[in-house]
Amino acid sequence: MKGIFQWFAISALAISVVGCSQPAGSAKANEPAGSTAKELKGDLEVVAFKGGYGLDQYEKAGKEFGEKHPDLKVKVTGDPRVWLQLRPRLVAGTPPDLMFPGWDMDVWALIEEGQLKPLDEALDQPAANGKGTWRESFDPNVLKLGQKDGKTYLLPYYVMTYGWWFDPGVFTKNGWTAPKTYAELLTLCEKIKAKGIAPITYQGQYPYYMIEGMLLPWAASIGGMEAVNDAQNLVPGAWKSDALLKAATMIDELNKKGYLQAGAVGMSHTESQTQFVNGKAAMIPCGSWLPSEMKEVTPPTAKMQFFLPPVVDGGKGDPSTMLIGVEPWMIPNDAKNPEAGIELFRYMTSLPKAKEFVETKNTLMAIKGSDEMKLPEVLVPQSAALKAAKTVWSNQFRSWYKAAEKDIEGALTSMLNGELTPQQFVDRCEAAAEKTRKDSSIPKYKVS
């Protein structure tokens, strides 16, 4: 059955390319060819996470796509907590056709339970612009994050980069420079503290910011990617390796020296970020969404600039290593109109649409070439870092092993509260990993 459809789709595509078909009046020079050819009809329901980037771009794409396919009725809806709505629909077997469930949906459980459609066939078909396959249009480092056993279930859209932020205006005024190494960081923090500003603040209520901003990047810097990969792969002893212990000690050192803002351990993300934009703290670890998340409350004189976490001098790791993250899109197996969902997403990930998203939302995208343009100022350092990065990785552990992640986060909070030594902290991390290793009901994955 599937085979017939594929054959039909390919022949329809072939006919359209050979035949007439650019619709009259399509003004844009890089209008993707062949996207009008497929016969899509019926309803297409898209449900998306409504976060810092809103829904408008998806709605616009849906509308444009609907215009190209007059027999198709496209509906795009979303919510800040959309995963709560989607869960019962998935259980009931009535999910939407294309979904972006957001950061709190257990997508790996969905894969395990066979709720998601493998998309390799669709990926091997031509990209929206007809040049090369759809698969080739994605950055391979990012695409591989959505695969299990070689099958692709999750597709990336925007790419989040993780690093630290500082205010270049404030730094220049004081003659400071963003630290490249940990040694520089220590000296800088002392100077900042003397000025009565908290050197570093952080999102204490959400310890994963610290894990992704300090702990794991530092472990990677000290012990190379193997240290982090082993930890993510649940290799016994990996979570209390020398690299991880040293990284934890560094965080503890910052804490003991008073370089971490007092009270940050209890702050939410918006609270600590507000401290940063109001100049009460000089640096903060955060992902690329920081500027748009804090848009409403950033004073007009404040500026923010991205930089990679300072590396450890003499460490084994590649200093250009960069941490990224994706919030994937997917097609449920029970979708009523999966082909339409796939085609809409193919359209959304076409180069012009991707570039449009970069421009309007100030975020990098997973589509190759989408950053070849005059980037918004805030994206320049991120794009440069990503281009220069010889090693790119993602903290998939957090999505794979939620129970262990919670233990590790709790232990980090306790260490930041001064209740655990770094050694005790890594011991707890290792214990959490061991518990997960032993639990046969938790599926195990390997970093690709």
Binding site: R81, Q85, E296
Partner: protein, 267 residues
């Protein structure tokens, strides 16, 4: 001396709420920045923002629909059941009564998952009518318990007189006994309403979407949604909006509530 101590407790009970009230008129930054300060100008936009942008307005409407809808079903069927259980002897009376009573004993969380699935099977998840049905079911225990106490205390002679006049059991209930139990019905309804208005846990799980949020969910969402956690002003305005109707009802009926609680509490 005692007056001072009373004043102390009064302030303790009321001050936080008074503080919420005047803080709701300050810009969010000031609430965190200078918590005790009185607003210099009244920022009514906080209320507008809470009502429209944060969805408190629609949450208010949903809570209204749910509360009134639940009471409309709950009161009649509870009164009927309580009347029969209180005044008629029959096999199974004790059993049914104890079963209803038992419902007050266990936490809603115990059955949250089966309930979730049940509503899903009835295609009533994320619907107001689904929530209303659940609320009715879970308010039955308390309502029947209290109403049966009231019905038990009504004098027999009136019922007997009505029956002698040729009224059926049902007619006696509707025409004679129910009107007599009005104070009990009123107080139970008010208590139920206050509980329903403020219910959070069940609504959280059974109304997963954004369309049908009730007020407690709307307020909680205000604290959790990224954009608004920095906007304390709108949050506090939302709090005031959600508390206002309950406070109004409470203040009007407080004496009757007090009397009823005294009567019902000594068991």
């Amino acid at each position: 001396m005692k007056g001072f101590i009373r004043g102390f407790f009064l302030v303790l009970a009321v001050l936080p709420l008074v503080w919420v009230l005047y803080s709701s008129l300050k810009p969010g930054v000031d609430i965190l920045g200078s918590p005790w300060s009185f607003p210099t100008s009244f920022r009514w936009q906080n209320y507008g923002k809470a009502w429209t942008e944060a969805g408190i307005g629609s949450a208010f409407g949903n809570s209204l629909i749910v509360t009134i809808g639940t009471l409309a079903i709950l009161m009649p069927i509870s009164a009927m059941a309580a009347y029969v259980l209180a005044r008629y002897k029959f096999h199974g009376n004790r059993l049914i009564f104890t079963a209803f009573l038992g419902g007050m004993m266990f936490p809603h969380f115990l059955i949250i998952v089966p309930l979730f699935l049940l509503l899903r099977d009835w295609h009533s998840l994320d619907t107001l009518h689904g929530l209303i049905l659940v609320y009715v079911a879970y308010s039955l225990s308390f309502t029947i318990f209290v109403l049966s106490g009231f019905f038990e205390s009504l004098p027999d002679e009136l019922a007997q007189a009505a029956m002698l006049d040729g009224c059926s059991d049902a007619a006696t209930f509707w025409r004679v006994m129910l009107p007599l139990a009005k104070p009990g019905l009123l107080v139970t309804a008010i208590f139920d309403a206050i509980g329903l208005w403020n219910e959070y846990s069940l609504a959280l799980v059974l109304l997963p979407g954004a369309d049908h949020r009730t007020l407690p969910l709307g307020i909680a969402n205000l604290t959790m949604t990224q954009q608004y956690q920095a906007d304390w002003g709108a949050l506090f305005a939302g709090l005031v909006i959600s508390m206002a109707p309950v406070m109004a009802v409470y203040w009007i009926f407080k004496d009757r509530i007090y009397e009823a609680m005294l009567a019902g509490s000594i068991k």
